[in-house]
Amino acid sequence: MDLTTQSTLLTWTVFTPALGLAAILALYCLRPILRLSQPAMDQAARGIGLLASIAAMGLSIALWADFDGGSSSLQFIHRFVWMKSWNIEYFVGVDGLSLSMVVLTAFVFLAGAIASLPWLGKLDDHHPHFTKKRVPGYWVLFLLLETGVLGTFAAEDFFLFYVFWEIMLLPMYFLIGIWGAPTRKDPDGRTRGGPYAAIKFFLYTLAGSVLMMLALIAIYYASGPATLADGTQAPHTFNLVHLTAQAHAGTFVGAKAILGIPFVHIVFVALFLGFAIKVPMFPFHTWLPDAHVDAPTPISVILAGILLKTGMYGMFRFNLQIFPTGLAWAAWAIGVIGVINIVYGAFVCMAQKDLKKLIAYSSVSHMGFCLLGLAAATPQAVTGSIFQMVGHGIVSPMLFLIAGVVYDRAHTREIEGFGGLAHKMPEYAAITGFAFMASLGLPGLAGFVGEILVFLGAFSAQGGIFRILVAIGALSTVITAGYYLWTMQRMFLGPFNHRWQHLWDMNWRERLALYPLAVATVVLGVWPTPVFDMVRETVNGLLAALPAGM
C-alpha cells in the first residue's frame, strides 16, 4: 500500500484548534502591551475559540467533500519520521471510520463552542456561570481538547495515537474540575462535585491508558521490521498499517505467550479494557455519571458526543483491525457485556432523579449497542455500530444541551421538582420531546438506524447466543420509552408548578447550538446514505480479515 504523503489538509484540520489555542496564548502574553482589559481579553478568547471551531468544521467538511468512499484505503495521508531513535512516525490519514468521527468531532465541538458563549441570551446574573470564569484558560483547554480528539481519530501511528489519547485526558480533567460544579455533599454525605468527578475521571481513564501502553510496548517489540517514511529500515514499527499487515500475516500468532496466555489474547484484552473504560463498558462506567453531572454543559456535550466514541473507535481500529482473531475469540463475551450495558443502563436510568444523570446513564445504554455491533461483526452490525456512534454523537449532545438549558435557569435538575414546564417553556418542551424521541429510537430519526442495523446484523451473526442477546437487548426499547416519557411527564406535563414562574424559554444561543443537531438527526434518520457511503468500504475491509466462521 502506498503510504506516501498525499496532502496536509488533515494535519491542518487536526491542528487548526491548536492554532487558535496559540493565538489566545499569544494574545494573553501580549495583553500588557496591547493594554487589553480583562473583559476584552475574554471576548477575544471567545471569538478566537469560536472561529477556530468553525474553521475546523469547515476543514473537516472539505475532507469529506474530497473523500473517496469507494476505497477502503487511507486517504489524506501525511507522514514523516518523528522520532527516529524509536521508529516513531508522524502519520495521519483517514478511512471512512476515522472520517465519520472527524466530521462528527468538528460538528459537536462547534455546538459545544456555541454553548460555551455567554452571548445571545440572558444569563442569570445571580449565579456564577462557567462561561464567565477564567475565560482564556477555558478556551485554551477547550481547543487543546479538540486537537487531541481530532488527532486521536486521525493518527495512524500507535505512538502518535497514544500521545493524542493522553492529550485528550488533561484538558478534560481541568475543564471538569475548574469549570464544573463546586464541591458539595450529596444526600448520603459523600463528597461530590467537579473536583471529585475530575479526579475520578482522570484516574480511571489513566488506568485504561496504562493497559493500553502495556499493549503498545508489547506489540512494538513483537512486531517485525518495516520501512519508515524516510525509506530506512526499522526492526520494529508503530505504524498501524504495517502492524495490521503483519498481524494478518501471522506475525503475532507466533509471539511469545505472556503468563501462559497467548500473546494475541492478552494484548487484545489489555487494549480492549483500555478502550472499554472510555466507552464506558459495564462495570467500568461509574466515572461517567459523576463526570457528566458535574461537568459544565459544553463539556458534557463533548464528553458524551465524542469522548465516548474514542473508546469505540479504538476497539474498531485496534481490536478489530489488528486482531480480528482476538475479536473472534472474545466476540460472545463482548456481546454479552454489550447487552448488559444496554439493559442495565436502561434500568438504572429509570431510577434516576437528576436529569443529567439520567441522560448520562442513557449513554451507557446506547453505547452498549455499539459494543453489540462490534461483537457481532457482520456488515450490518458493524455499520450499525458506527452509525450508532454517529447517531448518539448527535443526539446525546442535544440531550445534554437540553439539561443545560433548564439548569441555567432553575439551578436544579431534580426531575420531580419540575412539572408542567411546557406551559412556560413550550419551545423547550418541544425540542426536548424531539430529542427524547430521537434517543429512544423512533424510526425516521438518527437513533433508529443504528439500533435496527445492530440488531438486524447481530441477529444473523454466527452463534445462537447473539439471537438471544438481541431479544434481550431489544427489550430495552420498552424501558427506554418508559424512562423518557416518564421524565417528559414529570418535567413538562401536568399542572404547572408555579415555583418556576420566573423561567423563560429558549434563547438564540441555545437554538444555534441545538437546532443544527436536530436537523442532522432528521436528515440522517431519513437519509442515512451519506454515512453508509462513507464507511461501506472501510467496514468491508475491516471484516475481510475476520477468520472464517465469524
Binding site: L214, Y221, F347, P443, I452, S460, A471, A474, G494, P495
Partner: protein
C-alpha cells in the same frame, strides 16, 4: 402455482399520499402558533384539511388507476434507498396493491372527514394549530404504514402512529391523568413493537440462512432466484439469497419449497420458526390493535379529544394490526398454530371487552370497549384465513365506529363535556341529527340486517364456524360460539348507550333541580357551570349504588387538579378550571362558552341546555351515518346470489395462499341458519336494551344493583373495574420494573461505584502507609519518632488532597515499568 409477485406499475405520485399530510404537519407544527395568532383559525385548518383531502384525491386516483389494471398489478413508487447495508436493502418506496389501496382509501377518507369535524369540535381550543399538526402527522404515519413497501418502512409508520397517538391522547397535557394515559399508550405499544421487530428479525434470519441439510442446493437456488430478478431494477426482488425486506419478495421467496420448508420445519425450542415469527408479529398486533393482553391502553386513550378517539382509536390506527396480519397472510397461512392463536385471541378479546362494555357509564368508555371487541372480531376473521372479511369488517367498522365516536363527541360537546350517560337522556329532541346518525351506526354495529355491520360481522361468524384451520377441539364452532355471545353483548350495550343517551328526559344539570345550581354557578366561579356533579344531581334510580363505583376513572380526581393557573397564561384556563371539575377536561374546561359565539354573551344559562352541533360536525355525521348503512353493500353474501364486489376485488391479493385456507364444509342450510341466528342475536340485544333502558323507565337495572346479593354486587364490581387487569399489571410489570430499576441503581452506586471508590480509598491508605514507612523508617533514623507523629495530621491532609494522583501515577508507572522489564527479560 399462483404467481405471487405483483407486476409493478410505476405511479410516480404515490409518495404524495403520505407526503401531503406531512407537509401540513410540519407547516402547522413550526409556524402554526404564529399563524393562528395573526390570521386566526381558518389559516390553520384550511391547509390542515385540504392536504389530507388532497391525499384522499390522489389515493382515489391511484385506486381507480389500479382498478383499470389487470389482476396482480400494483402501483409502485420508489424514492430512495433507505438502508442499503450488506446484503440487506430497505427502500423508501410505496406500493399500492388492492389491499393497501382499500386501506389507504379508508384511512384518507375517514381521516379527511374527521379533520373537517375537528374544525367544529376543537374551535375553542387555544392550541388549535397543535391539534391539526398532530392530526396531519398521524395521517402521514398511518398512510406510510399502509403504503410502505417493506417491513421496515411499515415499522416507521407503525411507531409513527404510536407517537401521534401519544401526542394526541396527551393533547390536554395539563391534566396529569391524560398525560399519563398518553404515556401508557406509547409504552404498551412499544411492548408490542418489541414483538413485532423481533418477529421481523427472526423472519429475515430464517430467510437469509440456508438450511443446514441442503447448503449447496439452497445456495444455488438463492443465486438463481437473484439472477432471475436482478435485471428488473429497483422494483423487483433483487436482493440475493432472500434478504430483501419487501412483503412481495418475502412472499415470492416462500414460493421456493426449500425456503418454505426451512421456515416451517425449523424448530426453535420446540416451536416452528414460522409459528414463532407469526406469533411475535402478532404480539405487535395485540399492542397496536388492543387485543388481550395488551388492550389496556385503549380505554385510557379516551382521554384524548373525541375526534382523535374516532380517527386513531377506532377507525384507523388500531386496525393496523389486522392490516398487518392480512398483509403477511403468506406467513400466517403457513402456521396453523399461529392462525389458531390469532383467531382465539380475537374471539376471546371480543367477548371479554363486550362484557366490560355492559357496565360502563362513560359513553366514550363504552365505545372504547366496543372497539376492542370489534377488533377482536376482525382478528377472528383473519385468524381463520378469511382475510378479505377481516378487511371488510375493518372498513365498515371504520364507518360506523367513526360515526358513533363523532356522535358521542357531538353529545359531549352538546352537554358541555359531560361523558356520563347517567347525566344525559332525552337528547333525541335536542340533537336530532346526532341521534339519528348514532342510531343508524348502532344498528350497524349491532348487526341489524341490511346495515353494513350485518354483512361483515355475519360473514365473520360464518367463516369462523366453517373454518377448517382451527386446531381447537370443536374447530371453528367454539370460536363461533364465543363470538356469537360477544355479538349479543354488543347489540345490548350499544343500544343501552343509545337509550341512556337519547331517550327519556334530560338528566343533566339543566334538569328540574338545576335551577338554583344555575345561579350558584353564575356567581361562584369556583363551581363552574360545567361542574355537573353538583348537589342538584339527584340520586336517580340509575345512580344510587353505582355511585360507589364512580363512573370511570375520571371521577374523584378533583383534588388532584391544580389550583387555577395564573390568569394571563397562554391557555387562559381561567377561573372556571376549579378543583371541583370532576370530569377534568383539561384545557377545554371552563374555557368559556362552547356554544357558538352569538350565544356566548348569554352566559351560563344557555350553556346548560344541550344543543345540536355546528354543520361541520353534523355534516360529517350524516356522511358517516350514510356509509354505516350503505358501506356494506360492496360485500353482499354469496348466499343471496348477489355479487360480492369486495371479495372479488381482494381475491388476487390472497390468491397465493387461498389453497391453504380450508373449510369445514358446512352447507348452505347451515349458513342460512347461522344468518338467521345472527339476526336473532342482533334483535335480542336490541329488545333487551330497549326494555331495560328506554326512557330510563325500567327500574330493573337499579333494583338489581341495589340488591344486597353478594353475587350481583361482586360480579358488577369486578366487571366494572375491568376485571382489575390494570391493577394487576400495575402491581406486577410496572411496580416490578420500577423496583428492579431502583435496585439496580442502588447496586450501581453502592457496589459497582463503591468498589471504585474503595479502590481509591485503598490507594490513599496505601500512599499514606508508604509515606509513613518512608517517614518512620527512613527519616526516623535522623528524626525523632515523636516528631513524626506530631506531623501526621498535617501529612494526612496533604496526602489526601493533593498528592493522590502523583502516588497512583507513580504506582501505575512503576507497575508498568516492572511488567515491561519482566517481559523484556523473558523475551
Amino acid at each position: 402455482m399462483h404467481e405471487a409477485a405483483p407486476v409493478l406499475q410505476d405511479f410516480p405520485l404515490l409518495f404524495l399520499v403520505p407526503l401531503l399530510p406531512l407537509i401540513g404537519a410540519v407547516w402547522n407544527g413550526l409556524a402554526g402558533s404564529a399563524i393562528q395568532r395573526r390570521f386566526g383559525r381558518a389559516a390553520i385548518h384550511v391547509p390542515a384539511v385540504l392536504l389530507p383531502a388532497g391525499s384522499f384525491a390522489i389515493s382515489l386516483w391511484a385506486f381507480l388507476a389500479l382498478a383499470g389494471q389487470p389482476h396482480g398489478t400494483a402501483l409502485y413508487n420508489h424514492l430512495w434507498t433507505w438502508l442499503p447495508v450488506g446484503t440487506l436493502q430497505a427502500d423508501a418506496a410505496f406500493l399500492m396493491d388492492r389491499l393497501s389501496g382499500v386501506m389507504a382509501l379508508t384511512v384518507a377518507f375517514v381521516g379527511t372527514l374527521i379533520h373537517v369535524y375537528s374544525i367544529g369540535y376543537m374551535r375553542d381550543d387555544p392550541h388549535y394549530w397543535r391539534f391539526f399538526s398532530y392530526l396531519n402527522l398521524f395521517m402521514f404515519a398511518m398512510l406510510t404504514l399502509v403504503l410502505g413497501d417493506n417491513f421496515l418502512l411499515m415499522f416507521v409508520g407503525w411507531e409513527g402512529v404510536g407517537l401521534c397517538s401519544y401526542l394526541l391522547i396527551a393533547f390536554w397535557w395539563r391534566d396529569r391523568e391524560k398525560a399519563a394515559a398518553g404515556m401508557k399508550a406509547f409504552v404498551v405499544n412499544r411492548i408490542g413493537d418489541f414483538g413485532f421487530i423481533l418477529g421481523v428479525f427472526l423472519l429475515f434470519w430464517g430467510l437469509m440462512t440456508t438450511p443446514a441439510s441442503r447448503p449447496v442446493a439452497a445456495a444455488h437456488g438463492g443465486k438463481a432466484a437473484a439472477a432471475q430478478h436482478e435485471e428488473g431494477g429497483a422494483g423487483t426482488c433483487s436482493a440475493t439469497g432472500g434478504t430483501s425486506v419487501t412483503f412481495r419478495c418475502v412472499e415470492q421467496l416462500l414460493q421456493d419449497p426449500v425456503k418454505r420448508d426451512r421456515l416451517v420445519n425449523h424448530d426453535i425450542a420446540g416451536v416452528g420458526l414460522i409459528t414463532l415469527v407469526c406469533l411475535l408479529l402478532f404480539v405487535g398486533a395485540t399492542g397496536k390493535s388492543a387485543q388481550i393482553p395488551l388492550y389496556v391502553w385503549l380505554p385510557d386513550a379516551m382521554a384524548g379529544p373525541t375526534p382523535v378517539s374516532a380517527l386513531i382509536h377506532a377507525a384507523t390506527m388500531v386496525t393496523a394490526g389486522v392490516y398487518m396480519v392480512a398483509r403477511t397472510h403468506f406467513l400466517y397461512t403457513l402456521s396453523p398454530v399461529a392462525m389458531t392463536v390469532v383467531a382465539t385471541v380475537g374471539a376471546l378479546t371480543a367477548l371479554f371487552a363486550a362484557t366490560i362494555g355492559l357496565f360502563q357509564y362513560d359513553i366514550k368508555k363504552v365505545l372504547a370497549y366496543s372497539t376492542v371487541s370489534q377488533l377482536g372480531f376482525m382478528f377472528l376473521a383473519v385468524g381463520v384465513g378469511a382475510y378479505w372479511v377481516g378487511i371488510f369488517h375493518l372498513m365498515t367498522h371504520a364507518f360506523f365506529k367513526a360515526c358513533l365516536f363523532l356522535g358521542s363527541g357531538s353529545v359531549i360537546l352538546g352537554c358541555h363535556h359531560e361523558q356520563d350517560m347517567r347525566k344525559m337522556g332525552g337528547l333525541r329532541k335536542l340533537m336530532p341529527i346526532t341521534a339519528v346518525t348514532y342510531f343508524l351506526a348502532t344498528a350497524a354495529i349491532a348487526g341489524f340486517p341490511f346495515f353494513s355491520g350485518f354483512f361483515s360481522k355475519d360473514e365473520i361468524l360464518w367463516k369462523a364456524f366453517d373454518s377448517g384451520n382451527i386446531l381447537l377441539p370443536g374447530g371453528g364452532m367454539i370460536l363461533w360460539a364465543i363470538a356469537a355471545v360477544a355479538a349479543l353483548g354488543t347489540s345490548f350495550y350499544m343500544f343501552r348507550s343509545y337509550y341512556m343517551t337519547f331517550s327519556g328526559e334530560y338528566r343533566g344539570a339543566a334538569g328540574g333541580a338545576g335551577g338554583p345550581a344555575l345561579q350558584a354557578a353564575g356567581t361562584d366561579p369556583a363551581h363552574g357551570p360545567h361542574d355537573a356533579h353538583g348537589p342538584h344531581d339527584a340520586p336517580g334510580a340509575l345512580d344510587a349504588p353505582g355511585a360507589l363505583d364512580a363512573p370511570g376513572s375520571n371521577v374523584g380526581r378533583g383534588p388532584l387538579t391544580p389550583p387555577p393557573d395564573a390568569p394571563g397564561s397562554l391557555d387562559a384556563h381561567g377561573p372556571h378550571d376549579a378543583p371541583g371539575s370532576l370530569d377534568a377536561l383539561g384545557s377545554n374546561v371552563g374555557r368559556g362558552p362552547l356554544t357558538p359565539p352569538p350565544d356566548a354573551p348569554g352566559g351560563h344559562g344557555h350553556a346548560h341546555v344541550p344543543h345540536e352541533s355546528p354543520w361541520s360536525m353534523t355534516g360529517v355525521l350524516a356522511a358517516l351515518g350514510f356509509l354505516a348503512v350503505a358501506g356494506g353493500y360492496v360485500g353482499l353474501p354469496h348466499l343471496w346470489h348477489l355479487p360480492n364486489a369486495f371479495e372479488a376485488w381482494m381475491e388476487p391479493v390472497f390468491a397465493g395462499t387461498a389453497e391453504r385456507v380450508t373449510s369445514a364444509g358446512f352447507g348452505h342450510g347451515v349458513e342460512w341458519g347461522l344468518m338467521g341466528f345472527s339476526i336473532v342475536i342482533a334483535f335480542g340485544g336490541f329488545f333487551a336494551a330497549r326494555w331495560l333502558y328506554k326512557d330510563a323507565a325500567n327500574p330493573v337495572p337499579a333494583r338489581l344493583l341495589a340488591s344486597g346479593s353478594r353475587l350481583v354486587q361482586g360480579v358488577h364490581r369486578v366487571v366494572f373495574h375491568k376485571y382489575y387487569v390494570d391493577e394487576a399489571y400495575d402491581a406486577t410489570f410496572v411496580k416490578g420494573s420500577l423496583g428492579l430499576s431502583r435496585a439496580l441503581a442502588f447496586w450501581d452506586t453502592r457496589v459497582v461505584d463503591g468498589l471504585v471508590n474503595l479502590a481509591g480509598t485503598i490507594g490513599c491508605a496505601f500512599s499514606f502507609l508508604q509515606g509513613a514507612i518512608d517517614r518512620v523508617f527512613v527519616d526516623g533514623m535522623v528524626e525523632l519518632v515523636g516528631r513524626a507523629v506530631q506531623d501526621a495530621g498535617a501529612r494526612i491532609r496533604r496526602i489526601q488532597t493533593g498528592r493522590i494522583q502523583a502516588y497512583v501515577q507513580g504506582l501505575a508507572l512503576g507497575a508498568l515499568a516492572l511488567v515491561a522489564l519482566a517481559y523484556l527479560l523473558a523475551w
